[in-house]
Amino acid sequence: MKQKKKYPIYGVMAEFDSATAIMVAAQKAHDAGYRVMEAYTPFPIEEVTEAIGFHRKDNKVALACLIGGLLGGTGGYTLASCAAGVWFPLNIAGRPFIPWPMFIPVTFESTILIAGLSAGIGMLVMNGLPSPYHPVFNVPGFSLATNDRFFLCIEARDPKYDESVVTEFLNSLNPREVTRVEG
């Protein structure tokens, strides 16, 4: 979703009133063959995410979390074993240097820690956040996207993009307003 210099116009955006309206609009836009588009909503609406063509398999956060968890668990166990068995072995009444049951808590905690951080930070990185500037913020009234309005933006990078056609198409969806988004 990187904004490139060669598109001076980012896209065309339509504003809707309700969750149902945005879902219908997104579905129709997808049916009309538009692919590079984005909906902006004040809360998650699964149906809209599906409608714009972003499916569960495109969501890689869980994978990041799994990898993080595996690394964290391995790392935690290795750390405990190396510290207690190699770097600073203490012979306490001849007990084993690497007693695995004693390392379960540390392994568990480090698994959770790294998995959680991977999920959280991974989500931000995949979303391209933090990104203080984004062209859609130029749209007047877009501040309502975090309150009670729903926006659908068909982007200029879409292969089928033709500004006048897209504007006309979005106007046919019964929006409150259709705005051109400056790049």
Binding site: I22, E38, P42, G76, L113, G120, M123, N147
Partner: protein, 483 residues
């Protein structure tokens, strides 16, 4: 449509015996829209100004913080000898407070993570609040072990870091597990809390009128714009964090309890400690959530979002946890007196009930076992004033429970020659009072500067947040028209 009808029905609660059945009270008062939710919650931060009571309360809280700073400064200069703990009670006041504060934090994670996984939508209005409580409670808890080291600037030695001395932490010790558990708990709670607030910071950024506030909230909102793809990944991350925090929260107090259970002191060396500690933690945490929520909803006018139903549900959870705690007390006594056949355990329990700290034991039974029985009555669960008093009583009881476990066992262990008596010093008390002040000051600052109820999650409870029909089913356009 069914959700919508259900909400409609719930607006007409049956009145029986002069009070309203809370399970018929909606989770959001009728008549709210997305916009009124946004307005009501963000105006507390942005528009309504600072109420006078807030300054008064902060003044009280902050003066206790001054006490805390004083007590800790003296501690750093003079050493931990100013505290009352000494052989045989090497662990005393500080660890009691540590365990109590960590326990307080647990309700926050329980409400935000476990109730989220169980799809309990009523947690949506109180989860932010209780997560904040978790963060600040863990901060308070952390102060005790860190300052108990005597040289807090070397507290990082607790972590496994390569050093020129070639020394490493003892990974077979529960005290090291504790470092891992508590620091993981704090870190993940912070991440969970902050990520939960990002969309709401976006709302505040968009509604703030002063440029400085726009910049501050814009900075912390990370450029959130509500994109559907972002929401999708966001929800996954949130769900995963909830799933990870659930076992985490259970592990944290279990590990804390192993600090005791792995030791051989009578009264500590017990297998029931992990579940017993976790139940106690949730119990005291829920009590503190209620202690804070009951005044906050009145003072900030949030009764529309934190309704009688929330209060009632929390009362029920508290009752359930109180029963688990009571059951644990019975079993502890049964094991020690009747089942184990160990004379030291037997002596410990008799000493707990009739020894030098017996008064505390009976107060604790009164606070933790007798008091929650009042919660069986719906009338009491619905009377916020009585409930408020009950929550404070319960937290006093939970504090005494931790104190009993520590002081009674350590002052009367195997050898009568090493017996002693623990009394807190004025510095012990100042430190504890100071952390209470710190906690309440932080909560006040949080309520003033951050959205204390998650706006986007609350909006998701409204029926209008779910699109009606589906394009593929054909009849969606009629449904749209009729709605």
């Amino acid at each position: 449509m069914s959700a919508f009808q259900e909400t409609e029905l719930r607006q007409a609660p049956p009145v029986t015996k002069g009070y309203i059945d809370p399970s018929f009270v909606p989770m959001i008062a009728p008549g709210h829209t997305f916009n009124t939710i946004t307005e009501k919650i963000s105006n507390i931060v942005l528009e309504n100004g600072t109420p006078n009571w807030w300054f008064g309360a902060l003044l009280v809280g902050a003066s206790f913080v001054v006490v805390l700073v004083f007590a800790l400064t003296v501690l750093v200069f003079k050493g931990i000898g100013i505290w009352g703990n000494n052989q045989p009670t090497a662990w005393a006041w500080a660890i009691t407070n540590f365990v109590w504060w960590i326990g307080i934090g647990h309700a926050g994670t329980l409400i935000s993570a476990i109730l989220f996984l169980l799809k309990q939508e009523w947690r949506n209005s109180i989860n932010r609040f209780s997560e904040a409580m978790t963060i600040f409670a863990v901060m308070c808890a952390g102060m005790f072990p860190i300052f108990h080291t005597g040289r807090p600037w070397l507290a990082y030695w607790l972590f496994p870091l390569p050093n020129t001395m070639g020394v490493w932490p003892q990974f077979k010790s529960p005290l090291v597990w504790d470092v891992f558990a508590v620091s993981t708990y704090f870190t993940l709670s912070l991440v969970y809390w902050y990520l939960g607030m990002v969309p709401d910071f976006g709302t505040l950024r968009d509604r703030a009128r002063k440029p400085i506030l726009q910049k501050i909230y814009g900075f912390v909102a990370l450029g959130w714009r509500g994109s559907s793809r972002h929401w999708s990944r966001y929800e996954t991350a949130y769900l995963l964090l909830a799933g990870l925090c659930t076992p985490l929260v259970l592990s944290v107090h279990s590990v804390v309890s192993m600090d005791f259970a792995v030791g051989i002191v009578p009264g500590w060396h017990s297998t029931i400690f992990p579940p017993y500690f976790v139940a106690g933690a949730v119990y005291s945490g829920f009590a503190l959530v209620l202690t804070l929520v009951i005044p906050a909803r009145r003072l900030f006018g949030l009764k529309d979002f934190i309704t009688q139903r929330h209060i009632d549900n929390m009362g029920k959870v508290m009752l359930a946890m109180g029963l688990v705690v009571g059951y644990s007390y019975c079993f502890e006594a049964f094991f020690a007196l009747a089942y184990a056949g160990d004379k030291y355990e037997h002596f410990m329990m008799m000493n707990r009930m009739f020894g030098p700290y017996a008064t505390f034991y009976w107060i604790l039974i009164l606070c933790n076992v007798i008091t929650p029985q009042f919660l069986w009555w719906r009338k009491i669960r619905n009377n916020t004033i009585i409930l408020f008093i009950l929550t404070i009583v319960i937290n006093i009881g939970m504090w005494l429970e931790r104190f009993e476990i520590i002081a009674v066992s350590l002052t009367r262990d195997y050898l009568p020659s090493s017996w002693g008596y623990f009394k807190p010093t004025i510095f012990d008390m100042m430190t504890f009072a100071g952390t209470l002040g710190f906690f309440f000051s932080m909560m006040l600052l949080f309520m003033r500067g951050m959205p204390m109820i998650p706006m986007y999650e609350l909006k998701m409870i409204l029926p209008a947040s779910r699109p009606i029909g589906h394009p593929e089913q054909g009849s969606f356009e009629e449904e749209v028209m009729s709605a």
